[in-house]
């Protein structure tokens, strides 16, 4: 149908003057993509009303029941579940395992000679430094996937330097992608015994805008019993824009901390 005629029909419909037959034509035009639903003003307005109808807030009991169920499932999973990994996953792991056994064996032989032992230690240190450098440079990448890889690299570093934890804290505070921030927080959980990391995490609370990160931080603070986080958590609690469910979680964490 000609564009002009379609526009005329839309106009007529929006003025509430379309006949039953014309409405059937409009339906056909919607089906053939010649009319977008948003062009039909009264319908679009109703659709918007449905979309913006406020969601009902789930009760705490619902959360409670869910996490209880998850807890039961976790206990079941740790007791006997075994699934054979696929070959493309298994092969690199097997290769790494064999390599590590070989490296361990050779190191054992060399360590008997003091000079070689020193060289091995030096080499290990260099490898660790190299990994740290790679991780920090990957964190600068534009792609979120690359940055996630960088964060996951920290799991390969046994005793990361302050440079690494500082880079992770910076990611947690400033990365534009919420998944990367969550991954950084996940990685930092392994180093909460360090004072600088704990301080960094506390400072990060007020900087977070994503409810998911706020939830995760509030839970972490309760788990590690970080009492200095109370004032920061209260700040988030007092913010108008903080979602209700986050506020509830923060209140729970504060109950544990105070």
């Amino acid at each position: 149908m000609e564009k002009e005629k379609v526009n005329e029909l839309i106009l007529k419909y929006n003025q509430g003057l379309a006949t039953q037959n014309e409405i059937l034509v409009i339906e056909k035009l919607v089906e053939s993509n010649e009319i977008d639903l948003t062009q039909l003003a009264s319908l679009h307005k109703l659709d918007e009303k449905i979309t913006h109808q406020p969601d009902v807030v789930p009760s705490i009991e619902m959360d409670h029941r869910f996490y209880e169920m998850l807890g039961r499932e976790k206990r079941k999973a740790t007791s006997f579940t075994f699934s054979f990994p696929e070959w493309d996953v298994l092969l690199p792991r097997l290769a790494l395992g064999c390599l590590l056994i070989l490296v361990g064996f050779l190191s054992g032989v060399w360590i008997k000679q003091p000079t070689v032992g020193r060289e091995v230690t030096q080499l290990t240190l260099q490898v660790a430094e190299l990994k740290e450098m790679m991780m920090i440079s990957l964190l600068e990448k534009e792609s979120a996937t690359e940055r996630l890889k960088a964060v996951s690299l920290t799991q390969e570093i046994t005793d990361p330097s302050k440079k690494v934890t500082a880079a992770l804290l910076k990611t947690l505070n400033a990365d534009p992608n919420v998944n990367v921030r969550l991954a950084a927080l996940d990685a930092l959980q392994g180093y909460v015994n360090r004072a600088d990391v704990r301080i960094g995490l506390v400072r990060s609370i007020a900087l977070q805008e994503s409810p998911l990160v706020q939830l995760a931080l509030a839970e972490l603070m309760a788990v590690i019993q970080e009492k200095s986080s109370v004032s920061e958590l209260k700040k988030v609690l007092d913010k108008k824009e903080t979602p209700k469910e986050v506020k509830e979680k923060i209140k729970k964490s504060l109950d544990v901390l105070i």
């Binding site: 409405i23 409009i26 339906e27 919607v30 089906e31 053939s32 993509n33 639903l37 039909l40 009264s42 319908l43 109703l46 659709d47 009303k49 449905i50 979309t51 109808q53 406020p54 969601d55 009902v56 807030v57 789930p58 009760s59 009991e61 619902m62 959360d63 029941r65 869910f66 996490y67 169920m69 998850l70 499932e73 976790k74 999973a77 579940t81 699934s83 996953v89 690199p92 792991r93 290769a95 790494l96 390599l99 590590l100 490296v103 490898v127 190299l130 990994k131 979120a144 996937t145 996630l148 890889k149 996951s152 690299l153 390969e156 998944n179 990367v180 969550l182 991954a183 998911l212 939830l215």
Partner: protein
């Protein structure tokens, strides 16, 4: 250097912390990750069930059943489609099973009818509340099929192609279904406006 190559290869398997990534983790034996998915989707799911059943307590039970079913059938998750679509596919099955067990007929529209009928002083807030109440009544008067397509349109964020996968029809057919449902909703809504 060899060691590093292997390590890097391993990290390449890590994609993102997207819904699919998390659900894959759940499938592969890390049920903890379902917590994050639950936090992301508990509200849309509850909204969908309440929209269909008008009963908060029952809807919360069905949200729980949906996640229990996800855990039960996690080994069937392939991870090649949209997680939200898979989730709503399960939610619809849970809802249909409930309807099979117990036919939900009349729903408590009286609460809204009463509130609308007796309001004398109409502040903007009350008026807005009334409009939402009227919309709820109008939605209730639609057939189950029409109500569902409108709710899916809301919670699937107008992705008609994905809704088509759920309903087993084409994208164009979904648009027509939404058009018809909105047409009827408009008629019921206008009727209600005249009444109150």
């Amino acid at each position: 250097m060899k060691l590093q190559t292997v390590t890097l290869h391993e990290t390449l398997n890590l994609e993102t912390l997207s819904d699919n990534y998390l659900m894959n983790k759940v499938r592969d034996g890390d049920p903890d990750k379902l917590g994050l998915l639950y936090e992301r989707y508990k509200r849309p799911l509850l909204g969908f069930f309440i929209g269909m059943l008008r009963d908060k307590e029952l809807s919360e039970d069905l949200v729980q059943n949906t996640f229990a079913r996800i855990l039960k059938y996690r080994h069937l998750y392939r991870g090649d489609g949209d997680f939200r679509t898979w989730l709503f596919h399960i939610a619809r099955n849970v809802k249909n099973d409930h309807f099979k067990k117990k036919r939900v007929d009349q729903v408590p529209v009286d609460i809204w009818t009463e509130r609308i009928g007796h309001s004398e002083i109409r502040s903007e807030e009350i008026q807005q509340e009334e409009e939402l109440g009227m919309l709820s009544i109008a939605m209730e008067r639609l057939s189950e099929e029409k109500r569902e397509v409108l709710l899916l349109s809301k919670y699937q964020e107008k992705k008609y192609q994905e809704i088509g996968l759920l309903l087993g029809c084409s994208e164009s057919a979904v648009k027509v279904k939404v058009f018809r449902a909105l047409q009827e909703l408009k008629a019921v809504y206008q009727q209600l406006e005249k009444t109150y």
